[in-house]
Symmetry: C2
Subunit: 133 residues, 2 copies
């Protein structure tokens, strides 16, 4: 095992996807799973809070337009109370979401529609940066 591989192995390839749209959530989950990640699904803030401390996820992908609570609040919770890196997904209809999402603690923000391949690349980059930090 190289030193790089040893470092990367310290960060479990676990991601939690908090997305209210079942179709988009399934696409992201399937893509990340095919890339070798273990993925936890949550369709609401409530489901996020049920899972947040159950599994040692390294990255959280969070829709900012959840039905039960503003996803920015969920992102803030993740940043304040966990070591997870956070990627937010926002609607193009939400004006000026990027500064707010960044303020909420997101490491990265994607505007929908989400290209799963690019999203997975960014997730890989986050893991890579964690390993080299």
């Amino acid at each position: 095992m190289t030193q790089q591989q040893a470092l990367e192995s310290n960060f479990l390839k676990r991601v939690i996807v908090v997305e209210g749209d079942p179709s988009l959530r399934m696409n992201i989950v399937n893509y990340l799973t095919s890339e070798g990640y273990t993925v936890t699904e949550a369709g609401s803030a409530y489901e996020f809070y049920q899972h947040v401390f159950l599994e040692p996820n390294t990255v959280a992908i969070i829709d900012t337009d959840l039905s039960d609570q503003n996803g920015q609040v969920v992102a803030e919770y993740a940043r304040k109370n966990t070591a997870m890196r956070v990627i937010t997904l926002s609607s193009p209809l939400s004006t000026n979401t990027l500064p707010t999402n960044i303020k909420a603690g997101g490491d990265l923000n994607f505007v929908k529609p989400v290209n799963c391949r690019i999203l997975a690349s960014c997730v890989a980059n986050l893991f890579s940066r964690l390993a080299s930090a």
Copy 2:
């Protein structure tokens, strides 16, 4: 059973107390229990989210100074996603908390220190108003 008693029985005497200070939480829980309420305890927003849909609580008493998430956010969640009546407890050091707590959807706000007897009277009033609505 009188008509009033029949109406009141529709509202379970169940209260959830979300308070970060263990001592204050115990005092409130003990007082409400002695008044015949079934009380669920939560010491953080996280614990609130674990319980919120498990028991059919009628009233939520929520500290606005929780360690893991602003209690006003928790109060907003309760108002948006449940039928619970909400009483917020705020610190006297928090300036202008009352308008913000009311905006967050609190039915009532108490500034600490909390007098458990008065708090219990207000809880009883909420139940009474629910029964007569």
